[in-house]
């Protein structure tokens, strides 16, 4: 196993910058998820690490070696592809043996390693089948087997679960996590599904528009998103972002809405708002940090319920506030009807404040 360092990585296609000065370090044995919406540059970044796409500028270090100009075969990596990329004309056995044959291992050693990998992944009975005779989950497992059979320094995974159905995806998610724990493998995992990233990774690198937005543990990213993009991308349902305006009332900093209501701020939040570049401030609140009142309460803002979605454990209520959709989760025993008048109270300790101009999180100091 080895660590991976990306330094000022850039990839341009003509005038289009697919990857913009991405720098990050993946420590030995760490599971890092590259996450972001489609077209954000995450797969390109992975292909740069794999050597499938030449880099425009920057450095990639795997282990202690600078691999910028090395062929994929010389980088000591293994990759699992979204469509598995199993060799259709070869049996499972030959698929697993292929990387070992290319490394000119003796035949009996190949046989031993292939059977060992098959045993680990519980597919000994599938060895003679062709890929098309396997189910999606089995194909996925063969792809994983082909990656682990030769014990590479780094595993690269490109959306390995996105072709599976929902149930199998959850199952394979825990299998891959288990695989990481058992092998202490260094894994770089690309996904557009923030839930996969949050549940599996030690660290997540959130990307957008070719830029690395934030690189931290899932808990940190969740609790302290650096900007509005990260805030809205991580977490489900998405964080509500309400555009407001800063002003002063009775000497205190408050937020006012175009709808006419005023939100008074705690001292800490007031200090944050004062640091905004303009008067425009965006209030961010996750569904669980908003309290729903059925009658007027001090500090609560009037709103109208728009839709009500019971999920069993919790009921999600959506309302419009200052032109933005606000998600609130309530206990299922609180009955809310669409179009009902409600009052919303924000937990000032857990709200987020963003600069309406730069979209960056506002900090108190």
């Amino acid at each position: 196993m080895a660590h991976v360092v990306l330094k000022d990585l850039v990839k341009t296609y003509g005038s289009f910058k697919a990857v913009n000065n991405v720098s990050l370090t993946v420590n030995d044995g760490e599971f890092v998820a590259l996450v972001g919406p489609s077209g954000c540059g995450k797969t390109t970044t992975l292909n740069l690490v794999a050597g499938l796409t030449p880099i425009t500028s920057g450095d990639i270090v795997i282990g202690e070696r600078l691999v910028n100009d090395l062929d994929p075969k010389d980088r000591d990596i293994a990759m699992v592809f979204q469509n598995y990329a199993l060799y259709p004309q070869k049996s499972v056995y030959k698929n697993l043996a292929f990387p070992l044959q290319m490394r000119k291992l003796p035949r009996d050693e190949i046989d031993r390693k292939v059977k060992e990998a098959a045993r680990v992944l519980d597919m000994t009975h599938l060895l003679e089948r062709k890929p098309r005779e396997l189910s999606g989950g089995q194909q996925q497992r063969v792809a994983l087997g082909r990656a682990l059979v030769r014990d590479p320094a780094v595993f690269l995974m490109d959306e390995p679960l996105s072709n599976l159905d929902a149930k199998l995806r959850v199952q394979m998610r825990s299998e891959i996590k288990r695989f990481h724990q058992d092998l202490k493998a260094t894994i770089i995992y690309v996904t557009h599904d923030q839930l996969e990233a949050v549940t599996m990774a030690d660290k997540m690198a959130v990307m957008n528009g070719g830029y690395l937005q934030q690189y931290d543990s899932p808990a940190q990213v969740f609790a302290h998103p650096v900007n509005m993009f990260v805030a809205s991308f991580i977490g489900s349902p998405a964080m509500s972002l309400i555009p407001l305006e800063a002003s002063t009332a009775n000497g205190n900093t408050v937020l006012t809405s175009a709808e006419g209501w005023i939100l008074e701020l705690s001292q800490l939040n007031a200090r944050k708002v004062q640091r905004a570049t303009t008067k425009k401030v965006v209030l961010g609140a996750r569904h669980s940090t908003i309290k729903l009142h059925k009658s007027a309460a001090p500090g609560a803002i009037p709103a109208k319920a728009y839709t009500v979605e019971p999920t069993g454990d919790v009921t999600f209520v959506q309302a419009f506030l200052s032109g933005a959709i606000v998600n609130i989760s309530v206990s299922p025993n609180i009955a809310v009807a669409p179009d009902e008048q409600i009052w919303l109270e924000f937990d000032q300790e857990r709200t987020h404040l963003f600069d309406g101009e730069t979209e960056m999180a506002l900090k108190a100091d």
């Binding site: 794999a50 050597g51 499938l52 062929d71 994929p72 075969k73 980088r75 990596i77 293994a78 990759m79 592809f81 979204q82 469509n83 990329a85 060799y87 259709p88 004309q89 292929f98 990387p99 290319m102 490394r103 082909r146 030769r150």
Partner: protein, 295 residues
């Protein structure tokens, strides 16, 4: 459950069988079958007639005295007609085979490059390759003849091979490119990560997957070269170099035409093509429809 399904499907068949469109389709297919098969049948019947029976009027639908004399004559190396025929056959086989092999050798890497690499002028080159197919082949007859004379290839089989490649390659490349477009690039990427060089990935992974496409391309080149007449007629004048389509002409002469001999030769000329097609047709159909629908 099964009875319900059976009744349902039987009901459907009955409903479909009164469909006028289906009958129209059948009539059309029958017509096409007769249209294509009757000349072949007539060729076969004529080839086993005697010379007199072949020109009789009203025609004999089935010869009174069927004979294989024409075939014996053609295949007899002692006979001058047989010597000529066998030589022409060999010439055709040689030219077609060389054309086919060269065409595959050139078309496979070219198609792969068009499919996988982006290089300056890629689109221009690709359409330039197809541009040839927009003109009838005859237009190039005189220029190519002058060219062949200039480089001293007139009266050699090389002139034909070169010409057939010029005409066959564009479609061969185009056909194969479609094939490579349908092979996921991730397979090569996986192979390269698994330790193969780019070339090994092509030879070990991509080539086996594109066998049907290569076979279709080969058949296409072979048939094109095997049947070609006008260039062979123009470029070759020495008797011992003629190919079959030109050579068969010799059965026509000023005063008489040996129709049974002509038809027997025609039949034998069609044998390699038919055999090739029958053996490899499943690849051919697959290649032409590949990528039409998502699997």
């Amino acid at each position: 459950m099964s009875t319900i399904a059976e009744t349902a499907s039987r009901g459907q068949t009955r409903r479909r069988s009164v469909d006028g469109w289906q009958w129209a389709g059948r009539v059309f297919l029958l017509f096409m079958l007769l249209y294509t098969a009757l000349p072949m049948i007539w060729m076969l019947i004529t080839s086993i007639k005697s010379g007199f029976a072949a020109t009789q009027f009203p025609p004999q639908w089935w010869p009174d005295e069927p004979t294989l004399a024409s075939y014996q004559k053609l295949l007899d190396p002692q006979n001058s007609v047989g010597q000529d025929f066998l030589r022409f056959f060999w010439n055709s086989l040689f030219v077609s085979t060389v054309t086919t092999i060269l065409s595959v050798i050139v078309a496979v890497p070219a198609a792969y490059a068009f499919s996988r690499f982006s290089f300056p002028g890629r689109n221009f080159l690709f359409f330039a390759v197809l541009l040839r197919n927009m003109f009838p082949a005859v237009i190039f007859l005189v220029p190519l003849f002058i060219l062949m004379r200039a480089i001293g290839l007139v009266n050699t089989h090389g002139s034909l091979v070169l010409t057939y490649l010029t005409f066959g390659l564009p479609l061969a490349i185009w056909l194969l490119k479609g094939f490579y477009d349908n092979i996921p690039v991730q397979l090569e990427q996986a192979a390269r990560i698994d330790g193969a060089t780019r070339f090994q990935a092509f030879i070990l992974i991509v080539m086996p997957l594109s066998t049907p496409g290569i076979i279709a391309t080969a058949i296409y080149s072979f048939i094109g070269a095997w049947n070609e007449y006008i260039y062979a007629y123009t470029f070759l004048s020495k008797n011992d170099q003629l190919t079959l389509p030109v050579g068969i002409q010799r059965f026509f002469s000023e005063n008489t035409t040996d129709f049974p001999g002509l038809m027997a030769a025609s039949f034998m000329m069609s044998v390699p093509v038919v055999v090739l097609f029958l053996v490899l047709q499943r690849y051919f159909v697959r290649a032409l429809t590949e990528g039409a629908v998502k699997h």
